[in-house]
């Protein structure tokens, strides 16, 4: 079964807890409606993928979720709290983490210092010593401990992506937004990254990710939201959405095939 455009009703209470609930989000840039009335919810412990052809509005949606943009209309709820009007740092404190597609390490800091920033400011009341410890734990978990003292620019791309994830995790998120973390990775590396995302989920963090590489979506996602031209056109399991004629049509209309 495929749900055509998610309903804006909060899903039934019988289901697992909703951690993130987007309610009719829209974003207008001048005359362009980049994101149009997008609604979906994410459940606790779920890995949710947002896919769609280029220009579907996925990255804009992610920017709305993390607070880079304010929505033109609609609301966003995080862990039952309305965060629509809250700035990025407040959303972080409330439990939202984000890793960028193009890695953005702080260039003049070591790997360990980079992660320390996330651990120190992600939640109020963390002391510097605690943040350092926590940062190192995360470096161990993400396989970067051996590089703690290097500067970020000395890392490989995969390591940079691990750093990006480690830093976001350091803020102690309940929901982690990942923007095409697989982009630019070789197949073997992508597999490692998939394992990393799984381990993140297993540690109790819900993950929402944008991805182009369909096998990765198939392997990782519990549920998939498909966007096209700023709207949600389908939602369901990987197999449900890939069988959906509207989704197939959206992808066929572009040069990238669905099974690219």
């Amino acid at each position: 079964m495929t749900v055509m455009a998610a309903s804006s009703q909060l899903p039934a209470a019988s289901q697992r807890d909703v951690v993130l609930w987007a309610e009719g989000l829209s974003k207008r840039f001048g005359g362009l409606l980049a994101v149009q009335n997008v609604s979906f919810s994410q459940y606790d412990g779920e890995i949710l993928a947002v896919i769609g052809p280029n220009g579907a509005g996925k990255t804009t949606l992610l920017n709305l979720l993390s607070g880079v943009y304010r929505p033109s209309s609609g609301r966003l709820h995080l862990l039952g709290r309305d965060v629509t009007a809250e700035p990025m740092e407040a959303r972080c404190h409330a439990g939202l983490g984000r890793a960028f597609q193009i890695v953005r390490p702080f260039p003049e800091m070591t790997v360990h210092e980079n992660v320390t920033v996330g651990a120190l400011f992600g939640k109020p009341g963390v002391s510097l010593a605690q943040a350092r410890e926590r940062a190192y734990d995360l470096l161990e978990r993400t396989g970067l401990a051996a590089h703690a003292d290097k500067e970020a620019h000395e890392l490989t791309l995969l390591q940079d992506k691990r750093l990006e994830v480690a830093r976001a995790l350091a803020t102690g998120p309940r929901v982690l937004l990942l923007d095409e973390v697989m982009a630019g990775l070789r197949p073997g590396e992508a597999q490692e990254a998939v394992e990393l995302v799984r381990s993140v989920r297993d540690s109790g963090v819900s993950v929402l990710f944008i991805e182009h590489i369909m096998p990765v979506v198939r392997d990782l996602a519990d549920r998939v939201v498909v966007m096209d031209q700023g709207q949600v056109i389908a939602e369901g399991t990987y197999h449900e959405v890939t069988a959906n004629p509207q989704v197939v049509a959206a992808y066929l209309g572009t040069e990238e095939g669905l099974h690219a």
């Binding site: 880079v68 990025m88 972080c92 960028f100 070591t110 400011f121 510097l128 703690a148 003292d149 976001a168």
Partner: protein
């Protein structure tokens, strides 16, 4: 750095932010500065003491500027806060004893800096620089155009001499203020402020995504920096007896700390102090040789530093080493 953790060691967690060994040169500087008045200075003692005094003031100004720059705010408004300190002291000194007027003037400048900081919050790079430059000009214009009874107008203002004009006591007061500034700088380096400032400087949006309250820390940087700069202004006013808007709010007072920090080494404690010592002495030597335009040294040093000495004197001292900016 010495004692750099072996890769993969948890030692990285507990390594001190400021290794003790790197404090040595800084301690040495303050020891020398403390001993200076007791050296046999000969006939020119009075003159040398005066140069030394203004070197300390230049150090306060440069280091306080650097603290603001650490948060990514490269300001051209330092003259404004230096001047506000000087004027605040001159005016408040009429109604209260100097040891109250001094912190009061500094606090006043600090509060005004919060206004500028709030307005320029979202500006960066050249926009920020232009706005802060303009701010200085306007503070000067306001003071110049207030009724003469209020702040002396364009003619200037007499200031009660600090510590009865005792040169040695004034020197130790300046020494104390520079020491205070250095201690504040080191304390910041060891605290969460350092991480907040560095993160904002190196990527403001990323910092916000990681939960850094950018507004709070940017304003805090402005406040700390301006209070210290204003203390420098108090020293200047109390030493010179007489202040006027043109000299006190001169662009030179914004340029000197900026050039000094860049030349000495940005985002360090020792760098700006070292830079101030070298440049202030160079300025003095030049000033003796030529009456006008001795500030040429700042222009030249700034250009050369940007083109050839990107990490300043500190970069030369610690070539090939990394981290541990003191």
């Amino acid at each position: 750095m010495e004692g750099r953790a072996l890769d993969g060691s948890r030692a990285v967690v507990r390594r001190p932010d400021v290794p003790l060994r790197s404090l040595l040169p800084l301690g040495l500087f303050f020891l020398l500065a403390l001993a200076f008045p007791f050296l046999p200075l000969g006939e020119r003692a009075e003159y040398l003491m005066q140069i030394a005094f203004f070197t300390l003031v230049a150090g306060v100004l440069a280091l306080s500027w650097d603290i603001l720059a650490r948060s990514g705010q490269v300001s051209l408004a330092h003259a404004a806060f230096y001047g506000l300190g000087a004027y605040g002291f001159a005016l408040l000194g009429k109604v209260m004893p100097w040891f109250l007027a001094m912190p009061a003037a500094a606090l006043l400048a600090g509060l005004i800096s919060l206004v500028l900081g709030a307005v320029t919050m979202r500006l960066s790079g050249m926009y920020f620089a232009i706005a802060t430059l303009a701010f200085t000009e306007v503070v000067r214009t306001i003071i110049q155009n207030l009724p003469e009874g209020a702040a002396g107008g364009a003619n200037g203002l007499l200031v009660p001499a600090l510590l009865g004009g005792n040169a040695r006591a004034q020197y130790f007061l300046a020494f104390g203020i520079l020491l205070l500034t250095a201690l504040v700088s080191l304390a910041i380096r060891r605290s969460r402020l350092h991480h907040a400032f560095a993160a904002i400087r190196q990527g403001e949006e990323t910092a916000r995504v990681l939960g850094v309250s950018v507004v709070k820390y940017k304003l805090l940087a402005f406040f700390i920096s301006s209070v210290l700069a204003a203390l420098g202004g108090v020293l200047y006013a109390g030493k010179t007896f007489f202040i006027n808007p043109l000299e006190t709010f001169s662009l030179a007072n914004s340029i000197a700390p900026l050039t000094t920090s860049i030349f000495g080494g940005l985002y360090t404690t020792l760098g700006p102090i070292l830079g101030a010592t070298v440049l202030r002495v160079a300025e003095e030597v030049l000033h003796n040789a030529i009456k006008n335009g001795y500030l040429v040294v700042y222009g030249l040093v700034l250009m050369l530093s940007i083109l050839w000495l990107p990490r300043g004197l500190m970069g030369l001292l610690r070539r090939g080493k990394r981290g541990g900016d003191v």
